[in-house]
């Protein structure tokens, strides 16, 4: 935190209780690869936290641990409010849709798996589809959709359960810049509207600074947190923020930390 002090000033999230705390968490894969070593990280309730780092730094591993898809080898991962754990949703790197189901059925999937009938879910599914702007495409199959639209379906599927915590693993990495920017806007607006806690993994510094209330930079060999930087700019953010000198400063600072983490 020392190096970030030049930019940080109190933001709403610094006074908020953490939702998730990682305490000296290490993850070693059976092959012997140390994916994470002694990672301390707390995710505050309602914040938009980005994890930035080169490939292999374990940023996706952090998400997997938070989601409960794998267990830490050492250390502790705690949920301050246990009920939050049940209300999390995950957006995967590629959209990961069921290719044999249409948009509506893909979005309905989490509700179906929890045993709700088609009738019960009608309204939530329609709402989620409307929120991501895909009304009218309910019957389309994934292969008929563009990369950006598939990602929207994936986001709709994540938010249909009304989650409190949203984990996103490089969701827009494969998209072109225009689509990426548009989806960034949408996710930011939804986050402000729904008051989710978001953990967003990306390797794109621009995206991280633009979206986040806080950015953690990770380094490789072994995976660890290099620096942790509060992005102290008011929401809603706009193109003007992207052009501002502060944006450039944040970006340069993170780029430097990123370069250090590669060594």
């Amino acid at each position: 935190m020392t190096s970030s002090s030049a930019y940080s000033s109190p933001t709403p999230f610094q006074d908020v209780a953490p939702a998730i705390t990682l305490d000296r968490v290490s993850k070693v894969y059976p092959s012997g690869t140390i994916a994470l070593q002694d990672v301390d990280l707390s995710v505050k309730q309602g914040e938009f936290l980005s994890l930035v780092g080169p490939s292999g730094c374990g940023k996706s591993t952090v998400l997997g641990l938070i989601a409960g898809l794998s267990k830490p080898t050492q250390g502790d991962l705690q949920w301050t409010q246990p009920d939050y754990r049940k209300e999390l949703a995950f957006v995967f790197q590629d959209s990961s849709l069921l290719p044999w189901s249409n948009v509506e059925d893909n979005v309905r999937l989490p509700l179906k798996l929890s045993g709700q009938s088609k009738k019960q879910t009608q309204q939530s599914v329609a709402e989620a589809i409307a929120l991501v702007g895909l009304t009218g495409f309910e019957g389309a199959f994934p292969r008929q959709l563009s990369g950006g639209m598939k990602m929207r379906v994936s986001i709709a599927r994540a938010i249909v359960t009304q989650p409190k915590v949203l984990l996103m693993d490089e969701p827009f990495g494969a998209l072109d810049e225009i689509t990426r920017n548009r989806l960034n806007e949408d996710v930011m607006n939804l986050w402000r509207q729904k008051r989710w806690t978001v953990v967003f993994v990306t390797h794109n510094i621009y995206e991280a600074v633009y979206l986040s209330s806080r950015v953690a930079v990770m380094g490789v060999n072994p995976g660890r947190i290099m620096t942790d930087l509060v992005i102290d700019a008011p929401y809603p953010r706009s193109e003007a923020f992207r052009q501002s000198p502060e944006f450039g400063q944040y970006r340069r600072h993170l780029a430097q930390a990123l370069a250090e983490g590669m060594e």
């Binding site: 898809l69 790197q93 990961s96 069921l98 044999w100 798996l113």
Partner: protein
């Protein structure tokens, strides 16, 4: 995604190219027979074969239907049992470990060698014996393809189902079976032809005569009697049946996969 008219489909290169090859082949065959003056008991010309086929149609077609019955029963049994056992394999890894090698044994045992034994064992029920032989030929590709399919589920989707606490049943029905569908259908396409070959081989070995003899028996008898045009006519029927089975299975496969799987997509879309 406009549907093409039937005429357009029939004039597409996919149809015209193999059709042209067939015409050239038949013409070359005809010319060869005429020029060399080969006697019909060595190689009958295509016209003679067609003529024989028409003359013996009712008898040969009745035999073909007997073989078709054996094939279809064996094929359906193989499809159901192959799918069911593949599902058992994925439910419990130990079942797969223990039994898969024996499925391979079944596949690698030469059918011609064990068919006589099966026919002797089941001598009260020749139809059952023939079906069992054809089943042995058809079963393995379905089992091994479907097992492969059930195990090739996208890892992110598996994680997604874990995240939403899906039960093993939900995982099977909503994730694994649909993922395995293209593999299962691929297995069916291979096994359709194999079931027919299995039935023909078994009939050769069984040599059942009488009114309920299959097409293989007709081929066998025709060759014994040096009725080579008749043998060719029967062969033509078997080949036609094999192609028809493959075509029907391909149509079913395309219809089931057309919305989502690469294999069934029109490249022009």
């Amino acid at each position: 995604m406009r549907d093409k008219s039937l005429v357009e489909k029939l004039l597409s290169p996919d149809v015209l190219a193999p059709f042209a090859v067939g015409i050239v082949f038949v013409l070359a065959w005809d010319v060869l027979v005429r020029v060399t003056g080969l006697p019909p008991y060595l190689l009958p010309g295509p016209l003679l074969v067609i003529q024989t086929l028409i003359e013996n149609w009712s008898e040969l077609f009745a035999s073909l239907m007997v073989t078709f019955q054996i094939t279809i029963v064996a094929f359906l049994t193989a499809a159901v049992s192959g799918l069911a056992i593949a599902v058992l394999f994925t439910i419990n890894k130990w079942i797969e470990r223990s039994f898969f090698p024996y499925a391979v044994v079944l596949q690698t045992t030469p059918l011609v060698a064990i068919a006589p034994l099966i026919i002797i064992w089941l001598k009260e029920n020749t139809f059952g014996a023939l079906v069992l032989c054809a089943w042995i030929a058809a079963f393995f590709p379905i089992l091994s393809n479907t097992t492969l399919g059930l195990n090739s589920v996208d890892r992110n989707l598996t994680n997604l189902f874990t995240l939403y606490n899906a039960s093993p049943w939900q995982r099977l029905i909503y994730l694994r079976l649909p993922s395995a569908l293209p593999y299962f259908l691929g297995g069916l396409r291979i096994s359709g032809g194999l079931a027919l070959i299995g039935a023909v081989v078994a009939e050769f070995v069984a040599g059942t005569g009488g009114s309920k003899s299959g097409i293989a028996y007709q081929i066998l008898i025709a060759s014994y009697n040096l009725q080579i045009p008749r043998m060719f006519a029967a062969l033509l029927l078997v080949t036609g049946l094999g192609i028809a089975i493959f075509a029907v299975l391909s149509l079913i496969s395309d219809a089931l996969l057309k919305e989502w799987h690469e294999s069934a997509m029109n490249p022009n879309q």
